[in-house]
Amino acid sequence: MNQPGTTIIVVELSYQLCHSSAIGLEALRVTVDKLARAYGFLWALRDLNLDLTPGQCVALLGPNGAGKTTLLKLLSGLITPTTGEIRFDGVIFSRSMPELRARVGLLAPSDHLYDNLTARENLTFFSRLYKQSVVPESLDSALEQVGLAERAGDYVANLSSGMKCRLSIAKWMLLQPELLLVDEPYGVLDGSGIRLLENFLKHQCTCGSIVVMASHHVSRALDLCNRVVILSQGRLSFNEAKRQPWPAFETAFSEFLPHGGS
């Protein structure tokens, strides 16, 4: 793929395993080969091949209906592929593998929280669900980091969607998934929220996790990520590590968005 002779600065992937759950476990590597998914007879995603290595922070771009959400759902195990398979360290990821699901997370901004439980109870519930033991202090420190310390006792129903997103971030901070999928988070977050999210995602990547973020905020996603994947009509049209300068990306990207896309 690299054109010979041009000076290329490839963003180096450096990571060292630092989050607790990964100690003793070799960092998770996700391979996707000939993945396809059809709804009824319509192909939402066709013969997709990906190789996600630890430390990658992938920006998943593409127009509406390109298959971004389908890919996220497939990677998170919510839906099963029609053909092809997803392998975690060579092991096929299927619903009969609960322990593999413990290593995957899907950050849906204001979803996946119980409205009638308080913020703290939500965190307790999900951390007990994913892990045996739960240290109360870690809950408080997570809430502290996302700035919800004083709202710990409030019901989630009374929180604003921005605060719900912060609570989801706190949740995944606690659960430390090795593959974190993020579905268009920028819609609800304010300035400090976005900084908080991006620091968290960067921290995850430097700790050897894989982050795949689907978004329409191209400029933001580009700053954050070290790899870009573009989908259109269910097919992979671009998959390259970030580099300066990046002509290939401009051409691939301009195909489906009017020039100067947001």
């Binding site: 995957v104 997370g105 979803d111 996946h112 929280l113 119980y114 439980l117 519930f125 994913y130 019901y155």
Partner: protein
């Protein structure tokens, strides 16, 4: 055993939600007692005839009250796509099934503990000493109802008009339980012990075991999106 730990966790969450929302238990309880009054007006209950009709009336009340509980069972999971959150997590489908069935069972047993004595008082039935056997039969029947009911509630989760569809799909399948419990109760009321109706108890037990195992095995596919 992760299965029991996860079931316990889900039960803790459901009871906490129920204490906060207070929507299932009270409505089921008042609906049960309401039905007793309605039965009184609906049938001219001469004292001698009532003993024969008691099992049928009681079970009608429990069937409808239980259906209210079942309709609310996955309500918390319908908000905020929480069912997807559970599908994401390493939660075993069987644990979710057990927790939900047990939760509905607890609600129904609490209602039954109050409604049965109330029924005895309102219709001044004589046989107070028979209550333990009556409770045993009702418990076996309620377990069968909750097991199959949770399955049907999960199946109709994403259907339109699911409150109507749930009883339509569930009641025909419940006929063995309905027949068994009513026959057993009638026998207990008539002769004070089970006598040759014990076969019905074995049928009830068989029903509970079969659909408990079937539910545990199949539930992962039921909730899969």
């Amino acid at each position: 055993m992760t299965l029991l730990r996860q079931t316990g966790l889900m039960l803790w969450k459901d009871t906490l939600l129920e204490l906060r929302r207070r929507e299932s238990l009270l409505t089921m309880f008042f609906f049960g007692t309401l039905l007793l009054f309605v039965f009184n007006f609906a049938f001219d209950l001469a004292p001698d005839k009532i003993a024969g009709m008691a099992p049928g009336l009681l079970w009608l009340a429990f069937l409808f009250t239980g259906t209210l509980g079942l309709a609310q069972l996955f309500q918390a999971e319908r908000e905020n796509h929480n069912l997807d959150a559970l599908l994401l997590s390493p939660l075993d489908g069987g644990a979710l099934f057990l927790a939900k069935a047990a939760f509905n069972l607890i609600l129904m047993v609490l209602v039954e503990i109050v409604v049965i004595p109330l029924f005895w008082i309102l219709f001044n039935l004589p046989a107070w000493n028979l209550l333990p056997q009556i409770f045993l039969v009702t418990l076996l029947g309620t377990v069968g109802f909750c097991v199959l009911g949770t399955l049907m509630s999960a199946i109709t989760l994403r259907a339109r008009a699911r409150e109507l569809l749930l009883p339509l799909v569930l009641f025909p399948l419940m006929i063995p339980v309905i027949l068994a419990t009513i026959r057993c109760m009638a026998e207990v009321l008539r002769t004070g012990q089970f006598g040759d109706q014990v076969a019905w108890l074995r049928l009830l037990l068989g029903f509970d075991v079969i659909f408990l195992t079937a539910g545990m095995l199949i539930f992962d596919w039921v909730i899969e999106s």
